[in-house]
């Protein structure tokens, strides 16, 4: 029975007697009766003596470990009989007396010899002159002696208690002032060994020496020595089996009352010193690994060397001393701190760091702040790199612009596109980096995720072109980027785009850009896939709501109805004119509000006079009139405006054979050309010209009534662009000047039958500085209206509100669209007061109140 568990006593059946007090006193009286009864001289007394002698012999045998031949039943019955005879009290005292004597004679001397001078020195000062090895040996010898004695004692007392089980049941439990026999006898060890000095030259108690030695050994192990863990564990088990008092309440275990506090304070000192040393001598990475090792070690120690219940407490000590001790210093360490870990993708270090920080701080404040700061820094770095990069010699990116020869140098639009894609790519790469970090190191921690998202939004919105760049990125992806990609890849691109949009605060600005880019894609057939277009719009709808995408969806609806319209119109014409001599018309009817203002022919620049349109050739005019008549038959009260700038025309051109030339030029050449509508208008003029005659720029303008810029662009397409130069220009420069003259290029030739003249747009795809300012100004105007509307809505509902409440309500209403500046709101309020929507009630004490004027 080597177990050192404390003795479990059988629970006594309760309430055997309804009046315990009374029955007890009776028992005493009866016991007295019995003893005085002349029941045969020495009859019962002799009985008792016989039984007691037997038990006493057995106790001796138990101590001498020679009880193998003893019959438990005999001994138990002897004790049982004594108790039945009401001699329990006598038996209890006799056993106690016997054990005390035995203890004094056989146990204490064994311990006394162990308490040597060098041992006491360990207790007093564990950094004494003795070498570690000596100290360990002395300590181990002492611990072993103590352990062996304890185990003998514990085992003997357990066996004794087994024999005397009926004593506890029949006697001890009836006596409130008695504790079970085991508690009494086991406590001898505490009273006569642990709580005495046992050495005349010292006044340290054995228990103090014991704990000092144990702690000394544990410290040795922490420093890397090998110690006898089982030995320490036996001693800590011993302390767990002994209690401060005989009540044996769980909280008064000596382990908890004496050992554990000293162990914890010892650990505190040890780790506090260690943390200081690490800060002086090592880097953050070492610190992280070391701390984690220490945590594992202490966990292991609690499982193998001391008691497991200490684990949370010693972990707490480690958290406080080793982790929190110099947390900020380590995190900020140059060349190994968090910043360095992030920049060098130190996944392992960051993982450990996260685990450690999570132990001590739910909010992970220290880590979070550094992460956030670093994200913004890296984000701004992207912007700086962008500024310092020259995209003019781009990497073959950017689309074919308007310039005649496709040179290596890219036009400004393509440069901007390249920059936008680069920016988006860099931002996404940065996001991927931190996403990966979040997954691999930070266990998808919600707090950190939120913080990172916020930081990304912060730097993205610090960059003033982010809205345009995101839209450009989507534009580029949908035009070229998704070609030949699988559905999953396309989906990934869409997801990226949505992620970026989510970060944008000025969603209205993005909306403007997206509308413009989408219009170009749709009208010029540049979009790679309408399905993908619709997908991305439906995802935006999910993210940003119905209102955000209503215009985009309207644009798609327009195109669908237009294609139906075109085919019904075609049927209509075929009925009227079965021969099919008319011009085939393909019409897109665009609803004004859905499409960008620039496309709709309204001014692109503030203050510029609206474009005048142009004088179409008669055949086109007839066609227009025919369509208008058809269209308006079923739709009353609508106004159709022809927008020549966005359309195109397919025309057949015949170039005569040129005499004296060989090759293709010797034959008559027929080409089918696709030119801008205005280009077609210009070309038709030359049908009426005789061979060799030329028209000046002014003459063309006079005949067509086009604005200078429209005409310039039309001529660019048909007189400058290299593959579609059907007009010869004089002089043959790349720029169009009002003094230039144009003539039919009879010697035009092309390798392909179908030729597409480039479309040169009034609205450049990417904005330059002025254009952006314009866009922003326009946007600000729109915002002013939206803010006005919001203020009036709120005030109409509330009637009266003070300034700060009103501002915060406006902000909360507009979240998701854009974040207006408070100064803007203020200005709008003032404006509304002037326009008498609001008033300031002239009441004292409420200077910042507004009231709605009905």
């Amino acid at each position: 029975m080597g177990s050192s568990e404390s003795k479990q006593l059988p629970s006594h059946a309760q309430a055997q007697s309804p009046e315990p007090l009374h029955s007890k006193s009776r028992a005493c009286a009866l016991a007295a009766n019995h003893s005085s009864q002349p029941n045969g001289p020495g009859g019962e007394g002799a009985d008792f003596d016989a039984c007691w002698n037997m038990i006493q012999e057995a106790l001796r045998d138990i101590h001498n470990k020679s009880c193998g031949r003893l019959s438990f039943e005999e001994l138990y019955r002897a004790a049982y009989k004594i108790v039945l005879k009401k001699k329990g009290e006598v038996l209890y005292d006799k056993v106690k007396e016997f054990e005390e004597q035995w203890f004094a004679m056989h146990v204490i001397p064994k311990i006394e010899v162990l308490v040597t001078k060098s041992l006491i020195n360990i207790g007093i000062d564990n950094s004494s002159a003795a070498s570690v090895n000596e100290r360990r040996q002395t300590g181990e010898k002492f611990l072993k002696g103590l352990r062996d004695t304890w185990e003998d004692h514990n085992m003997s007392m357990n066996m004794t208690a087994d024999i005397l089980m009926y004593l506890d049941r029949g006697y001890t439990q009836q006596e409130p002032r008695r504790v079970p026999i085991f508690a009494t006898t086991i406590a001898l060890f505490r009273d006569h060994i642990l709580r005495s000095c046992l050495n005349a030259n010292s006044d340290s108690l054995i228990v103090d020496i014991l704990i000092s030695v144990m702690l000394d050994q544990i410290d040795m192990e922490r420093r890397g020595d090998v110690i006898d863990r089982n030995l320490i564990r036996s001693c800590s088990r011993m302390l767990s089996c002994l209690y401060e008092t005989e009540d044996e309440s769980e909280s008064s275990k000596l382990y908890l009352t004496i050992f554990e506090p000293r162990f914890l304070s010892n650990s505190e000192t040890f780790y506090s010193r260690e943390c200081d040393r690490l800060l002086r001598e090592s880097d953050a990475s070492t610190w992280l690994r070391h701390t984690e090792t220490r945590l594992l070690e202490e966990e292991d120690r609690c499982g193998t060397t001391i008691e497991r219940e200490t684990l949370p407490k010693v972990s707490d000590v480690l958290d406080k001393k080793l982790i929190l001790g110099h947390l900020d210093d380590f995190l900020a360490m140059e060349g190994s701190g968090v910043r360095w870990m992030i920049d060098n993708d130190k996944i392992d270090d960051l993982s450990i760091l996260y685990r450690l920080i999570s132990r001590v701080d739910d909010k992970k404040t220290a880590l979070r702040e550094i992460l956030q700061k670093r994200v913004v820094e890296l984000g701004l770095e992207i912007e700086n790199v962008l500024k310092n990069t020259d995209f003019s010699t781009g990497q073959g990116e950017g689309e074919d612009g308007g310039d005649g020869d496709k040179a290596k140098t890219l036009n400004p639009a393509a440069q901007q596109t390249a920059a936008a894609i680069r920016w988006v790519d860099d931002v996404l790469r940065l996001k991927d980096k931190f996403d990966y970090m979040l997954e691999a190191c930070f266990q998808e921690d919600l707090v950190l995720q939120t913080a990172l998202t916020k930081s990304f939004a912060d730097f993205i919105n610090l960059f003033n072109r982010s809205s345009e760049y995101v839209s450009l990125f989507i534009d580029d992806s949908l035009k070229r980027g998704i070609r030949g990609k699988t559905e999953a890849e396309v989906d990934a691109i869409l997801e990226k785009a949505i992620v970026l949009i989510r970060y944008l605060l000025d969603k209205d600005l993005f909306q403007t850009y997206y509308q413009r880019h989408l219009a170009r894609r749709l009208l010029h057939g540049k979009s790679e896939s309408h399905d993908v277009e619709k997908q991305i719009i439906s995802r935006m709808k999910q993210e940003m709501g119905q209102q955000f995408t209503s215009k985009f969806e309207g644009m798609f609806r327009d195109l669908v109805t237009s294609s139906e319209l075109t085919s019904t119109y075609r049927d209509h014409i075929r009925k009227l004119d079965p021969e099919g001599h008319t011009i085939d018309l393909n019409v897109n009817v665009l609803t004004t509000n859905y499409w960008p203002q620039e496309v709709m022919g309204r001014s692109t620049q503030l203050g510029e006079t609206p474009r005048m349109g142009c004088t179409y050739p008669p055949e086109v005019k007839r066609l227009q009139a025919s369509f208008e008549q058809f269209y308006l038959t079923n739709r009353n009260g609508r106004k159709l405006t022809w927008i020549g700038t966005t359309g195109s025309a397919d025309i057949k051109c015949v170039f005569p054979a040129i005499e004296g030339k060989s090759g293709p030029l010797a034959r008559e050449r027929r080409y089918e050309m696709n030119v801008p509508t205005y280009g077609m208008v210009v070309l038709l003029l030359f049908n009426d010209q005789k061979d060799g005659e030329s028209l000046s720029f002014e003459e063309i303008q006079a005949k067509t009534n086009m604005s200078t810029s429209d005409l310039t662009r039309a001529l660019m397409a048909i007189a400058v662009a290299p593959k579609s130069r059907v007009l010869a220009k004089d002089p043959p420069t790349k720029n169009i000047k009002p003094t230039d003259r144009f003539s039919f290029n009879a010697s035009f030739q092309s390798k392909t039958i179908r030729i597409k003249a480039p479309i040169i747009n009034a609205v450049s795809k990417v904005e330059d500085k002025d254009e952006r300012r314009t866009t922003e100004e326009k946007n600000n105007q729109t915002r002013a209206h939206i803010v006005d509307a919001a203020i009036v809505r709120i005030m109409k509902a509330r009637k009266e509100l003070n300034h700060s409440q009103l501002v915060s309500e406006v902000l909360s209403q507009l979240v998701g669209r854009f974040k207006p500046e408070v100064s803007l709101i203020k200005r709008r309020i003032e404006d509304l007061i002037v326009r008498e929507y609001l008033e300031r009630p002239d009441e004292d004490g409420a200077p910042s109140m507004y009231r709605y004027v009905a």
Partner: protein, 265 residues
Amino acid sequence: MMQSQLNTYYNDLCKQMLSAQHRGEFCDLDIVCNGHTISVHKVIICLQSPVIKAACTGSFAESCGRYEIKDCSYETVQGMVDYLYTGNYDTYTKELPKEQSEEPGEIVPGQRDVFSELIQHVKMFSLADKYLIDGLLELSRTKFKKTVRNERDTCAFSQFVAEVYDLQFESSKELRDIVVESVRERVAVTPLKPSVQEAVDGLIDEIPEFAGDLARSYLRRPILGHCTTCGTHKLVSISTLQCRCAECGKGGATPLGSWYEGKSY
């Protein structure tokens, strides 16, 4: 698992244990008594008796798997083993039907057997007390009480009273209470029967503890009776005032020996 399935499972498990014991399969402990050997499973026995457990786990002579019980009859030990395996034990004279008729005054044959049955319960009780088997303690007490209540021979008590008081110990207090109560009941029902008085007088002389218990019982609960609210199956103390039941506080209880005792109303 459904509760009923679980119960079936437990039942089967117990039955299998019992049949294994009968066949001597996997037995690892021999209980020896008066030359008889009962082979049992330590796991069944030791889990229910901390005493035998201590004997088997300690380094005593019993650790070799043989436990000899002296001072006790084989039948009683067998009864204890039966209880440990089945939760019940039988008395070995079965001439009497278990449920006796309740009509008073009926002369039941074979009262000698009732007496031996009582003795068996007492022995079982004392064995359970010695080996600290709480369940058996409770069971034997209940059985004893039932048998005593059913025993109608007014003089039979003189024998089992002596037997119970031979136990001489605190834990038999419950049995003593039952005995004292039953004696009082009998004395109240037939107060003038000389044989009863004689028997009681004899017991008082022989067993001073019984005399003390009896006197205390009269002092503490002078009138015993049946309460209609608390049920007629048990005796309760009755307050002299208004014949109130001291347990539930209602009036209208019938003191023992009243002319209408035992009539329904």
